[in-house]
Amino acid sequence: MELKDTGFTTENYPGITIRGTECQDSGGSFTDENGKLYGERNIDKEWYYWADVEGEYDAETMPYMINGGKYSYFTKIVTREVDKIINIPVLKNAGASITNAMKNLAFGSVTNTGRLHASLWNETCAEVCAFSPLRDKVVLNISDGLRGCFNGGPGASPQFICNYNTILVSSDPVAMDRIAYDIVAAKRIEEGIQREPTPGVLSFLSMASSLGLGIADKERIDLRIV
């Protein structure tokens, strides 16, 4: 969905620039008069995440990926247009793991992500966030857990949507995700989706911690409930 489809419009938020990397014109087209994707204007080829997995997409998919191949380019929004980033993910499961702060930043900042979901999900979540446009600009993470999902994620299937009634706030996205995992896992256990926590699925947090992006060890996290 486009940002405007979810209420992010200039009418609702006057004075605020609302931008996305992939975009359509007012007629709904993803391409300009020369057949080039509008999204291509929004990517910064000086910043990229290279992985030895080829992205191959048909013409219908390309507007959402911007490019194929082995390079995922950062959006100019993070590399050139903003000085600071406040990351606002929605609290969701991703299988037995979660998609929250790290996933939102990583997959939301680069192109050609379809190839990364299946084989490099954990690596992408950690390594993309280690690039300086994200590492140095993200100052705050606010996880919207008022409503989220506990299964079927990251898709939003109505039967799995729930009210976590929680907002998580942290300057450390790694620590936030570690705590977020406990909330989602508890709900999954309560609903009978799984029997016990499986923190082994959080390898992306261990990777991120080893890259100096935050604290993944729950014993070292200072959690305050307000």
Binding site: D58, G95, A96, G152, G153, P154, G155, P158, Q159, R195
Partner: protein, 283 residues
């Protein structure tokens, strides 16, 4: 005979009467008739969409189509699960009907197994299984069913009885338009009643299906590909898994400590056919 086919055939016969005589006319007409039937019988390939006059007074406010990987444009990473099963295309419509809003998601999968598979991991705490499609599940806000190659999801925003009735009405219209074979699961779970399969089984064709259907089985399929698994969770848990190649089959045996003679310390294993096992397990 469908009216449009009749008209086409009559047109061709008229042309034939003018130009060709004798027996040749008969054979030529027959040939053209068969060609016209073939050309116009493509509706089994069309998605079973609602039409304007199906729901009197309804407004179709939005319609979008996606095929294959372009489903990422609709649901981002959620598309992975559908692609793992095998998705051909999806059509999403939003409808205003009797003052209420509905969304229909029509997913054409690559076959009946695939359609049942995505249905089986998507249903949850069904309040009922109405008689629509081959397998169905309804909750306050949703009616899901599968029929032939299609998985259908009808979402309402009100959660009222009127919404459920309207969803059922919409679902039946869609289901009527679907032609295709019902998924055949008896080969996976012999001697298991259809009702038990309907309420308790899921089908997976890869890691994501396993993780969504039964996360506690994920470790038993780590790195394993090219399989179809049907899992029945009940007082007696059954895993029926069929492999497409010998290498995947042997990898599964090795991963799970099942000897090639099918003995195991932790499960009861029975061979249904070459590369197809039925395993009884405790949770």
């Amino acid at each position: 005979m469908r009216p449009d086919v009749k008209i086409l055939t009559q047109s061709f016969l008229y042309i034939i009467n003018v130009r060709i005589t004798g027996l040749a006319r008969l054979f030529f007409a027959l040939f053209l008739y068969l060609v016209s039937i073939q050309g116009l019988s493509q509706d089994t390939n069309d998605p079973p969409l609602l039409k304007a006059d199906d729901l009197p007074g309804a407004k179709f406010t939005s319609s979008r189509s996606f095929s294959g990987t372009s489903l990422f444009g609709y649901m981002n990473g959620g598309a992975e699960l559908y692609l793992e099963y095998g998705l051909s295309d999806a059509t999403i419509n939003e409808i205003e009907y009797r003052g209420r809003k509905y969304k229909t998601e029509i997913y054409r999968m690559n076959g009946p197994e695939e359609a049942f598979g995505i249905f089986s991991v998507s249903k949850y705490r069904c309040l009922g299984m109405p008689q629509v499609g081959d397998y169905s599940c309804c909750t306050k806000y949703q009616l899901q069913f599968c029929k032939g190659d299609f998985y259908i999801n009808i979402i309402n925003t009100g959660g009222t009885r009127a919404d459920s009735l309207a969803s059922s009405e919409i679902g039946k219209i869609i289901a009527e338009r679907i032609k295709g074979k019902e998924v055949e699961l008896s080969g996976y779970l012999p001697d298991v009643e259809r009702d038990k399969i309907s309420s308790g089984a899921f089908l997976a064709k890869g890691r994501l299906g396993i993780v969504n259907g039964s996360p506690d089985l994920e470790d038993h399929f780590k790195g394993i590909r090219n399989f179809t698994a049907v899992v029945l969770k009940s007082e007696k848990n059954l895993l029926s898994v069929k492999f497409n190649d010998q290498a995947s089959f042997m990898s599964f045996l090795e991963l799970n400590g099942i000897n090639p003679d099918l003995s195991s310390d932790s499960a009861v294993v029975r061979k249904i056919s070459d590369m197809h096992l039925l395993i009884g397990f405790t949770r």
